[in-house]
Symmetry: C2
Subunit: 215 residues, 2 copies
């Protein structure tokens, strides 16, 4: 059995990026917060160069922005950003759902239904944060089932940005609707109905207008 993934072989640069990223998407670092290389280096017990590469990484993920010689700060999403994220996400998910439906397997269908069951369970409660994450987990599962590495990587970037936004906005919606609105999507994929899957994927996304309205 391959346990190499369990062993900590990741570079310190990557680990630092992970930790900082987590703080951002969890909302502990709110938009506009300034990140200082020397402070982070001291905080994590790493050298400045190592932190620097981690920050550059997060910069390419658009989670933080940089002004030359002035500093890094957690990105602030504008209305345009939300529109871009929402439209891009819709397009990519439509593609993912189509591909997933094209070569769905019995094992894949089982997996997908399990994730959907998790979502339904969360929707029975009132923990909006948990519901949001279960929602994203379902969509992420679909992307993974598409068997498209670049698509998955691209989707991940968007997902991180959306998470960082969602965690700071106390959203309110009807949990029951969220749960049931994904049923058609899951069914279409599991039954291999490619066109239906692509169409349902577009429907099941909370779009930017709705997110903005929440603010």
């Amino acid at each position: 059995m391959n346990k190499s993934a369990l062993i900590n072989k990741r570079s310190l640069e990557d680990q630092a990026a992970d930790l900082i990223r987590e703080d951002i998407v969890n909302g502990e670092l709110t938009p506009g917060t300034r990140l200082v290389e020397t402070s982070l280096a001291k905080e994590y017990g790493l050298s400045r160069g190592t932190i620097r590469i981690a920050l550059h990484q997060l910069g390419t993920e658009s989670l933080i922005t940089q002004v030359p010689y002035a500093g890094w700060s957690v990105a602030q999403l504008t209305g345009q950003d939300l529109w871009e994220l929402s439209t891009l996400r819709t397009t990519l998910e439509g593609m993912a759902a189509r591909l997933a439906a094209e070569h769905i397997t019995a094992a894949g269908a089982e997996q997908l239904k399990a994730v959907y069951a998790d979502l339904l369970e969360c929707c029975a409660g009132e923990d909006f944060n948990a519901i949001t994450r279960a929602d994203l987990a379902l969509h992420k599962a679909i992307v993974d089932l598409s068997g498209h590495g670049r698509l998955a990587r691209q989707y991940q970037l968007i997902e991180n940005q959306l998470l960082s936004y969602i965690s700071v906005s106390n959203q309110s919606f009807d949990p029951a609707v969220v749960g049931s609105s994904h049923r058609a999507l899951v069914d279409a994929i599991c039954e291999g109905r490619v066109d239906d899957a692509a169409a349902e994927a577009v429907h099941s996304i909370t779009d930017a207008e709705q997110l903005q309205q929440v603010l």
Copy 2:
């Protein structure tokens, strides 16, 4: 008039990344070529740390790959990679064409037609490399017209990877067909026919099968 773009204010890290990237997409650095940090540092007259950040940047663009403690090397595209690039590109371009058609302006239409004229001119000759670049320039113009920053950035990544592939494979196709096959796409966008634009975008792309066949 804003001439800030003309002044060299870019960091050495970015400039180094640009130079190396150009060598890759131009085919001077063929897939599999190893890139050594110290050698590049000496070659460009920069410190190793600066080169290192540039290489990380190129790594996130999937132009080079890295094996821990072993080294960097120019990425080698597999059949799966070509499929991913082609399908992702098709999806993104369909989206771009739709958006471009939605809010096309007179100035935008002029610009697009100019780029298309360039392509036609190239197709009159036999310089396949020039044709390929003019082709990509047209598609890039459409992406820019979509007014979608993230879409443009994502498209750029794919474009760079395709260029690096194309420059090493001596492709052969009929120049006349390439030129004329884009006419419907340009017209649909300029006339604001969104659905036609999206459909034509998909048609006008040389897909992965064709590329692979060339090898």
